[in-house]
Structures are given as C-alpha cells and as structure tokens.
C-alpha cells in the first residue's frame, strides 16, 4: 500500500470516527424531558386510578406527587431509571417500582405513572 | 459600417472597464427594484423621496473621503473625528438656542475650527503610520469616539433640552432637533409634487456647492500638488512638494468635510446621536464612494455622486422591496453585506494606476 493511499484512508477513517463520535456523544449527552403524570390512565381496556403517596426518584431531586400532579424531570443520556416509591396511606406499606426508559434521540416523553406502576406495556400518553 | 460597429463595441467595453462590473450590476439591480416596486404595492414616489433625502443627508460625508484618497492616505476610516467635530458644533449651537438657518450656520462655524484641530492631529498620526493608515484611522476614530463619550458626560452644557433631566449634567444620548434647525436645508426651496414626492432642494444645493468647492480645490496649486503626492509621492518630492504637509492638509480637509457633512446629516435626520453613535459611521461612507467606482488610491467627484445615489438607493429600496415580497425585515443584513462587501472588493483589487 503506498503512503498516499494509506494516509488518505487513515484520514477518511478519522473523519468517520469523528462523525461517529459526534453521534455517540450526542447520544450520551442529550437531555430529555420526561413529563410524569399522576392522573387517571385509560389504556387498553383497563382504567388505572391516580396513585397516592407517590415519590419519584430521578436523576434530579426526589419529588412527591399527589394525584392529578404533573411534573417534569429531565434526564441525560440514552436511558434513565425512574424509581417510584408508593406508600399506601392506609397500610403505611411502601413498595418500590423502578422503570428504565430508553430514550434514544427523542427529546420529550409523556409518561403516566399509574400505567407504569400498573404494569402497562405502553405507559405513554399523547397530549 | 463595420468599423463603426467595432468602435461602438469598443466603446461599451471601455465603458464597462471604466465603470466596473460591480457598479453596473448594482445599478441594474437598483433599476430592477424600482421596476418591481409598484407591483408589490410600494409607492415609487415615497421611495424616490426617501432616497433623495438620504442622498442629501449623506453626500457630504461621502465627499469627505475624496481628499484623503487623492493624497494617497487611503480610505478615511477616521471619519468619526470629523463627525465628532460636527456633533460638538451642533450641540454648541443648540446650547445657545439658536434656530433656523442661523443655528445651522453657527453649528458649521463651531464645527470647522475643531475639525481643523482634530484633523491636524490625525494628520500627524497618519504620517507616522504610512502604509497602515486605514487600520490606524479606524482605531484613532474609535478612541476619539470613546473619549468624547466621557466628554459628553462632563462638558459644561446646561441647556435643559440637551442634558439629562434628573442630574442636570451630561448630554442626552439622543437629542431632538425639533425647534432648533431640523430639516432647515431639506426644506429650503423644497419641491413637493403630490402628497408623497419631496425633493430636498436646499440639501442638494449645499451638497453641490461642497462638490464644486472640492473640485475647484483640486485645480489649485495645492490641490494639484496633493493629487501628485497621492499618485506618485516620489515625483512630488522630487519637485519640491512636501509629502507630509500635503497629507496633513488632505486629512484636515477630509475632517472638515466630515464635520460639515455631519451637521447636514443631523439637520436632515432630525436627531443628534451622541456617545457610541458615531462609531461605525465611516463604513457606509467608505462603502458608498467605493460603490461609486473609487479605488483606494483614486476618487473623483463623480464617484461620490454616483456612489451616494447607488448606495442610498440600494439601502432604501432593497429592504422595502424584499419586505414587500418576503415579509421579512432583512434591511440590516443587506446593509452589512453590501457595504462591507464593497469595501472588501476594493481592498482586494490590485491598485489601478499605482506605480510600484
């Protein structure tokens, strides 16, 4: 292989690496806004009521949510894990449900907490 | 017949060579704008008046480029010095509440001695910095504007119409000329046709007068010597003409013209803008004369007149036509691109008629 060809291949490769790196970095560095909604969710057949005694742990500060609340949390990177702590007001028993969201390059997500907790396959809702 | 044809063709080629492609393109473009205008609901009369008013307003500032270009000092980016003198003249005349043509005259009268003073100083700088005149001129101009900004705050002007109301000292950023000598030249013998067309006769007479004076100056012994310094400094020196002195004279002349031009500008504009206002005022004037076909080392009165008309025409017509068509306001961007593009074109062109 002659020198010129080798170098040009190397240069092209480096450019490609740079572009790929840019994508990778965008993937890692992108902030997404996740809108969590704690109101009644009507999915495929079932109707899930809002949750009481809900506490959300995300990448930001933990937040408590009352029924009907809607909050915005932001998350960075390709995926994030949300933890929902639900303390039943009657029994004072709490359970934790963690949910991993794969975000990709999409910027905004609308998530219904009752749907997640209720194990719905498609907890997204449309505004 | 054939021969005549050929001559005719040669004539066109020569004309193009003399006139320069950019000028022709811009002239055609301007003409096109005037043709399009009525179809998109723009009143040609108003546009034409706008353009004429702005020509009268800016003409002398453009003329202020000529002496320095002719003496080989390049484009006068130090125009703010003259402008400062014009501002001081105007403010001083207003301090005494002088009105009408008298107020205007006094403003010019106050401005000229200061312009001479600043011009001499600037001339010495320019002579120290042969070969780098334009860059240094720019920054000398900027420094003086910033320095005067401090002065505007401190100078003992007391007329309540001029100074800040609450402190009683320090000139306002924008001072209205209403009640002083707003549009005294524009309105002098002005011609009005219909409700929309207005011809600022006074300003044009004054502009023409200045042009004739500059033209005549270049026919005098000093003027001829000055051109000689510009086109071949060694020749001038070999014939006993002091290059440095001629350059200073040209700078003084340019600065005085700048000062007078500024007063004219103010009366037409109706406002005086102090502080950082004059910072970039040299650029449109520089662009206009270059658009008129001047180069870094040669400029004529016709360059001034043609350039001012074309430049102001573009500036008035392009925004309104484009706004009419696209509903966007790109005036500022077009102004920046046209004026700086023109200057760039001139800077990159190999100096015509220079002997190295």
């Amino acid at each position: 292989m002659n020198v010129k060809l080798r170098r040009n291949l190397l240069r092209v490769a480096l450019c490609l690496i740079a572009v790929a790196g840019g994508f990778l970095l965008s993937f890692i560095g992108m902030y997404h806004s996740i809108i969590l909604d704690n109101s009644e969710f009507s999915g495929a057949g079932a109707v899930l009521p809002p949750l009481e005694g809900l506490r959300v742990v995300s990448e930001a500060e933990p937040v408590e949510m009352s029924p009907g609340d809607r909050i915005l949390v932001s998350a960075k990177g390709p995926s994030t894990t949300l933890v929902f702590e639900i303390t039943s007001p009657e029994t004072q028993q709490s359970r934790e449900i963690s949910y991993t969201l794969h975000m990709g390059f999409k910027k905004q997500f609308f998530l219904s907490v009752p749907a997640i907790v209720g194990g719905e396959k498609d907890p997204f809702f449309v505004e | 017949m054939k021969k005549k044809d050929r001559m005719h063709k040669g004539g066109i080629e020569k004309f193009i060579a003399n006139f320069g492609w950019p000028r022709i393109i811009i002239a055609i473009f301007l003409l096109l704008l005037f043709v399009i205008a009525p179809f998109i609901g723009i009143d040609v009369g108003t546009s034409l008046s706008d353009m004429l008013v702005r020509v009268g307003m800016n003409g002398i500032l453009v003329l202020a480029m000529v002496p320095m270009i002719q003496s080989g000092c390049g484009l006068n980016f130090g125009l703010p010095l003259g402008i400062i003198a014009g501002l001081v003249g105007a403010v001083t005349s207003m301090e005494y509440n002088w009105q009408g043509l008298f107020g205007f005259g006094m403003a010019v009268l106050f401005a000229i001695p200061l312009a001479v003073l600043l011009g001499v100083m600037y001339g010495y700088f320019i002579n120290m910095a042969k070969g780098d005149e334009m860059m240094i001129g720019t920054y000398v101009g900027f420094s003086v504007v910033a320095f005067m900004s401090m002065m505007w705050l401190r100078l003992p002007y007391r007329n309540p119409l001029l100074v800040w109301g609450f402190s009683g000292t320090g000139l306002r950023t924008t001072i209205s000329l209403t009640g002083f000598w707003m549009k005294v030249l524009d309105n002098f013998l002005a011609i009005r046709i219909g409700p929309r067309f207005f011809f600022p006769t006074g300003s044009f007479i004054f502009f023409a007068l200045c042009c004739v004076l500059v033209w005549a100056f270049f026919k005098t012994k000093t003027g001829i010597a000055m051109s000689a310094v510009g086109s071949n400094p060694q020749f001038a020196r070999a014939h006993g003409v002091s290059e440095d002195r001629m350059r200073i004279v040209s700078v003084v002349l340019s600065t005085v013209l700048g000062a007078v031009g500024m007063v004219v500008y103010e009366q037409s504009y109706g406002f005086i803008q102090l502080y950082m206002g004059p910072l970039y005022m040299a650029f449109p004037a520089v662009a206009a004369i270059l658009l008129g076909g001047a180069t870094i080392n040669s400029a004529t009165i016709s360059n001034v007149v043609i350039g001012t008309f074309l430049f102001q025409g573009i500036l008035t017509m392009t925004p309104s036509v484009i706004n009419g068509m696209l509903q966007t306001d790109v005036a500022e961007v077009i102004r920046i691109l046209v004026s700086n593009g023109m200057i760039l074109y001139a800077l990159t062109r190999k100096g015509k008629g220079t002997v190295k």
Binding site: L25, G29, H32 | G131, M135, Y139, S149, I336, L347
Partner: protein, 364 residues
C-alpha cells in the same frame, strides 16, 4: 556591534505592559476591590479568554499581523453551540459536539478568509477586519432568517416569537461551566478550573511544538520575508491560508470555552467584541503585529482584564461616575490598539530607513 541586551531596550520593548502595570498599581487601590476578589476574577477570566487570544499567535508568526478575522472562528463556535443547545445536549458531550460541529465550519471560513487575505497582501489587518464585518452579515442572515425556516430548529424556546430566527440571548443551563467544574481545585476559597487550564496548556504546547515542525518553520520564513521564502520554493499563499485556518480553529474552540464559562450566549453580540478585546489584550501583553509570544497572551489577558474589572469602580470612586469608568475602559481598549499599531508602524518605517542607511554604510 551594538550590545545585544540592555535594560533600556528591555524597558522600551515592554513599554505597553509596564504602563498598564503602573496603571493597575494606581487603579486597584482606588477601586476599593479586595485582592482575593480580583484574584478570583482574574483566574476566571484567564480561563475564559486565554484560548481566544492564543488564536492570534499563529498568523503573527506568518507575518499576517493581527488576525481580526478570528471573529469568524468565534462565529463558528457559536453556531456549533446554538445547534447543540437546540439538540438538547448538555455536559461535556455538548462541548465536544459543538467543537466537532465548529471544526468544519471554521476550516471553511478560515480558508475563505485566508484566500481573501492573499488577494490583499500588505493590507491584511484592515482586510481581515472588514471580513469580520462582512461575515457578520452572513452570520446574522444565517441565524436570523435561515434558522428555524431552512435549518430546522426544534426547540421553540430558542426561536423568536415570529417563528424563525434565533433569540437575542440564550441560557446554557446544562453547559454552564461544565468544563471549569469537571476538575477543579479549591485554593484559599477560590475554584481553580484545572481542566480548562489543562486545555489551554495543551494548545500552548501544540503551538510551541508547531514551531518546531516544517510547516512552522515555513510560516516563520514566510512571515519574515515573503520573497526569499518564495524563492526557496515554499508555497507562500498556501502557508498563509493554513495560518489563518489554524487561527480560526483555535478561535472557535476558544469561543466554546468562553461561552461555557459565561453560561449564556448573546447570539448577535458575543463574537463581535471578541476580536477587539482579544487583540487589545494581546497588545497590552506587549505583543506587536510582528511579534507575539505565548507569554504575551497571558500577561495581556491578565492586565487587560484587571483594567477592565477595576476601571469602572475606580472611576466611580474617583469621579463619582461609574458610567465614566465604563467609557474609560472602552476608550482604553480602542486607544491601546491605536497606539500600539501607531508605534509599530512608526518603528517599522524607522527600521526600514535605518536598514537602508546601514546597507549604504556596508558598502563603504
């Protein structure tokens, strides 16, 4: 032969920094600002601006004077930042992606600028200055009219209310000081942004190393004597274009570093001031249009910003008018450029005359 070094010579060649140092010695007590505060400010500003000023060194090496065209690099950096913000990136990846985006834009703009400067040899400074203005028009056109209409902008918060065009200013909440804070050390209650300084140090080393390469040597030769360099077969024009491209690139990265430190972008003003301030800082540091070193960069940024911070307060305490101090520092930054250029032009002419006379004596 004349003696090579003398105290007087050293004083004269460092006249500008010495004057500024004296000015600072007078103005610092007048301002009433505390030394720790000033020190903190200076460290922060050194981190912010050094890279931008550093971008001016290479074109000086190539004999092209002070590259006012560095604002093109700043524009490229800003375009990168705007896009990154729109895409919702944050943290270090955002800075890196902005730099990746700015790189091809800078190379393109640098090539354009270098090409034009080759057409205007001997008038490089004033031409690069006008190129800056000219491209500012293009920049405004791109951001005000193309973004949001031709170039998709998804984040409506960035756009003007009319639906296209970028807003006048934007906050960078997820980018603010990410580089500064990633690795920083606290000394006497001051955060020292180690990583930022490390980046600056890397660029300094690159420049030092660059001078030891063939291309660096070619640039020096082109800068010292174009005719001889050309005669020796060095591709003069290509070398000059390269110098401008490198300058534009460093300015692009410098602007990105500067913006992350500030945490906001003034979309239409940030870059305009960059050129004037950087050049003033370099000149204050004792550089000339023909000679600039890395030491000039740091001394210059320090002194210039010291004056910048101190003079409004000093003005206020001395005359009772902060606005006056404000104008004073504008006056000083323009004035210093004017005076430095003037001294430089004057010196150049005298040296030329002297050399001519010396040549004559040599023949005796």
């Amino acid at each position: 032969m004349k003696p090579k070094y003398s105290l007087k010579g050293a004083l004269i060649s460092n006249l500008v920094p010495i004057v500024f140092l004296m000015f600072a010695a007078f103005a610092v007590p007048m301002s009433g600002l505390s030394i720790p505060y000033l020190l903190h400010e200076m460290i922060s500003r050194l981190a912010r601006d050094s890279l931008l000023v550093l971008s001016l060194v290479i074109p000086v090496l190539a004999g092209m004077g002070l590259n006012f065209g560095m604002v093109l690099g700043a524009m490229a950096g800003q375009i990168g930042m705007v896009l990154v913000v729109d895409w919702g990136l944050g943290g270090m990846p955002a800075l890196l992606v902005a730099a990746l985006l700015g790189t091809p834009i800078s190379i393109g703009l640098g090539y354009f600028c270098g090409y034009i400067l080759n057409l205007a040899k001997g008038r490089e400074m004033v031409t690069s200055y006008i190129i800056g203005f000219f491209m500012n028009g293009a920049y405004q056109f791109l951001l005000l009219y193309c973004m949001g209409s031709i170039i998709p902008i998804t984040n409506p918060e960035l756009l003007l209310s009319r639906g296209y065009g970028i807003r006048n200013s934007m906050d960078l909440p997820n980018i603010r000081q990410v580089l500064d804070r990633l690795v920083s050390v606290e000394v006497f209650g001051m955060d020292i942004p180690i990583l930022t300084f490390a980046v600056i140090a890397v660029f300094c080393l690159l420049i030092v190393w660059f001078k030891t390469t063939k291309i660096g040597q070619d640039m020096r030769a082109v800068g010292r004597n174009r005719a001889v360099a050309n005669g020796a077969g060095i591709p003069v024009e290509k070398t000059r274009i390269l110098a401008i491209i490198i300058s534009t690139l460093i300015a692009c990265y410098g602007q990105i570093v500067s913006l992350q430190n500030l945490g906001t972008i003034n979309t239409y003003n940030s870059h305009e001031q960059v050129g004037i301030f950087s050049i003033a800082a370099l000149l204050v540091g004792g550089a000339t249009a023909e000679n600039a070193s890395i030491a000039n960069v740091f001394v210059g940024v320090f002194l210039f910003h010291l004056m910048f911070v101190v003079s409004p307060m000093a003005g206020k305490n001395l005359i009772g008018d902060a606005q006056l101090g404000e104008y004073f520092r504008v006056f000083v930054s323009y004035g210093i450029i004017a005076v430095s250029l003037l001294l430089h032009a004057w010196k150049k002419r005298h040296e030329m005359l002297e050399r001519r006379l010396l040549e004559n004596d040599g023949k005796e």
